[in-house]
Symmetry: C2
Subunit: 447 residues, 2 copies
């Protein structure tokens, strides 16, 4: 298959608009900001993620000869325009919230300042990269809050929407606090800890379940986690108990059993009881199968003896919220602030900054969205990350981002740490931003 990082991974209208800008000589600086308009009711906050891949995309943006030839053949474009595209690179500036930062509606998480055609062209892929990881990091953070102290592993590659979704979901889940992933490529690409033992097919390919357990223990003596629900979960535990005794003589320890179907809570209690009764309290219980943050919350609340969870499909598809209402909007062109007023899609104009204030206990208290030239007390969340098309810092380690997320989740007011919304976080629009908006509306003739 083709290069999945191609610059042609964009909407055709970006290129038809570019031909317009090029023809009209509209090459002044434009400012675009990326934000999420309205949050769904079951998201109290979102976690910014995907910046690393976005910067990588901008730094490497080029039209290859093959791509130019394809564009020429479409009939939409002039040859001179395509010659101009062939030499295009991204030379602009980027300010952004660091990955792992909690954010709220209408707050820009990324600003691009660049000659209009460049800033326009990158819209589609920037949204594509940032919305997806933000979506998954936010879902994963909810799981982390719902199951404090538990081992959480991303199992969702198979039902993720394609290869990149699978890979980047593993990254987003890890930076949000997951322990690791089953995705081997994510292990290689991002040094995320990888987890995995056996599927039902391994048991089924053997004529006997105990024989399958034994063979696996010999094949993976340091990684013995046995899947016990292929036929009869409780009967399988008896086999595990017998095998544990046998393996002890070979100095092999069974780390855990995994349950993947049935009433996980009820089964876990029965399995725990049987294992404890046999003196095998060091064997842990790992569960998987159709899990999400709500299931985790119930297990936590009911003190179910499960030490770790594989969270799959519902994590990597963010099934209850499979997309965010995010936008990348022109806020300023040629030093004049701009505003879209389409019904239900109005935006706050101008170059903005978000200031965050904390209370005495270290919890976040209030955010203020204002214009860049209106400094406020508090932490300025958008920071310069790219200047003239070059990154200002070396890429952050995933570990550092993961710590920032943990710190951000800790700083959330307790009413926002729940799965359902109990309080609204105050995001204030500054007087000068409101004033600018009114001035533009007057100019457009709306007031």
């Amino acid at each position: 298959m083709t290069d999945l990082q191609s610059v042609l991974l964009t909407d055709l209208y970006q290129l038809t608009m570019l031909q317009g800008y090029w023809r009209e000589g509209m090459n002044d600086n434009a400012v675009f900001e990326l934000f999420v308009r309205k949050f769904p009711p079951n998201r109290n906050f979102l976690i910014a993620a995907g910046l690393e891949q976005a910067l990588d995309y901008l730094e490497n943006l080029r039209f290859t000869e093959e791509e130019c030839n394809f564009l020429q053949g479409t009939g939409f474009f002039d040859s001179e325009f395509i010659d101009w595209l062939a030499q295009l690179t991204f030379t602009g500036d980027v300010d952004a919230m660091p990955e792992g930062t909690v954010f709220f509606p209408d707050e820009p998480i990324l600003r691009v300042t660049a000659p209009l055609p460049q800033a326009q062209l990158v819209e589609t892929r920037l949204i594509n990269l940032l919305q997806f990881q933000t979506l998954i990091a936010s879902k994963a953070a909810r799981c982390v809050l719902a199951a404090p102290g538990k081992l959480l592993v991303d199992f969702g590659l198979r039902r993720a929407h394609g290869s990149e979704a699978g890979l980047l979901a593993a990254r987003a889940a890890y930076l949000a606090g997951f322990t690791g992933t089953s995705n081997v490529l994510a292990g290689m690409e991002f040094s995320i800890p990888i987890f995995g033992t056996m599927a039902h097919s391994y048991i089924m390919a053997h004529d006997d379940e105990l024989e399958a357990f034994r063979a696996f223990a010999h094949a993976q003596p340091n990684n013995v986690v046995l899947l016990i629900d292929t036929y009869d979960t409780l009967k399988a535990v008896d086999k595990v108990i017998a095998l544990a005794e046998e393996l002890k003589r070979e100095n092999i320890t069974i780390k855990a059993v995994r349950i993947d179907s049935g009433d996980l809570a009820a089964l876990a209690k029965q399995v725990r009881q049987k294992l404890d009764h046999a003196g095998l309290d060091q064997i842990g219980i790992f569960a998987s199968g159709d899990l999400d943050e709500y299931a985790l919350k119930r297990f936590t609340h009911d003190n179910i003896p499960i030490g770790g969870f594989g969270i799959g499909t519902k994590l990597t598809t963010s099934n209850d919220v499979p997309y965010l209402n995010c936008a990348y909007k022109l806020q300023e062109y040629a030093s004049i602030a701009r505003r879209k007023v389409s019904k239900g899609k109005q935006t706050w104009p101008g170059r903005k900054q978000v200031y965050r204030r904390y209370d005495a206990s270290g919890k976040i208290e209030k955010d203020i969205i204002t214009l860049m030239n209106d400094p406020q007390e508090g932490e300025a969340l958008l920071q310069p990350v790219m200047k003239n098309g070059k990154r200002l810092q070396t890429p952050e380690s995933l570990g550092a981002i993961r710590e920032r997320t943990a710190y951000n989740l800790e700083a959330l007011p307790s009413g926002l740490q729940t799965l359902d919304q109990t309080t609204q976080y105050p995001v204030e629009i500054s007087p000068c931003l409101i004033r600018l908006t009114q001035e533009i509306d007057k100019k457009i003739g709306l007031r």
Copy 2:
């Protein structure tokens, strides 16, 4: 970023199981089948899609030196096992339903027959590829059924889950009957017709809306579709009417206007009236913004004068059904049929075929799932597509698949062509398949 077609795009447990199989010399032929267990209530049928990419994956499956080195460093594997992986290729057979075929619960859409380790290893990526395109093709088919004869364009790249999802969603939508896509890369990769004109930012970057319309018409004289909802939709139509007169002198025709916000139905009627009143009945109306098959159905029902639709986020995320309950299960190993009996996840064992019967009017009437060695009347849906690791046919053209889908949708009973379920399609399990299942259960000790 790394190669998104890497063989490491798999779950770690596939590789730990493989080390077990390798160690135990379990290299006999295994049969795995891929199917969807239960359909969600708002899917009367699914459309098989993604086979082309699945076969491509199998034909090119290799472990590179870099990948082997990474695996060595994880500590999970023996060196000799990694040497064995380094020479692994896929040498098995594949039978499958052709892309564009309508299918129902429990019907295998793909069967892999290969030495156990090979057949096991490919599980994750096969599901990843086939479930996603099937998901999107099925969602797209619902849009096609809801808006017969309309121009339907995939606009969903930006909120698709990553690059591959965006690219393959365009393919899946097109094969299901969409007219084209905004995704330029999909145009290059799959020769899908591409569509696109302008965004709100183009209008906003100009100081005057009419000036923006005029400049665009000159930049794209053969592709003049004007976005009219940036400020005031009805006032913008007046500008379009004035511009049409002016452009006539230059022999430039305005093809359509696009509305992207507000009450699309009400606006379309008012816009149509204004255009018709000005004698501009040749200017079409194209709508976009938060659309799905239910919105299309309402427009069709109410005869709203909109000729084309851009369907974005809800198509490429399949928002109401963001994943399918699909599985790839071991059905036979070393010539012995196998069956998983985990609670709620029981499977039909053995190598199966699906026969489809048609009534006199050409509508599909009934499917029968049975064993391969139990031929039935009707059309056998699974066909050989790969033998000893090599494709049996050259890849089908997307156009041919698109025609097959159209034929399949036409052949659906009318009760299944609706968006909500009104009838259930009969899928019969053959007596010999039921018998085999009972025999296995007896052997496992369940009955």
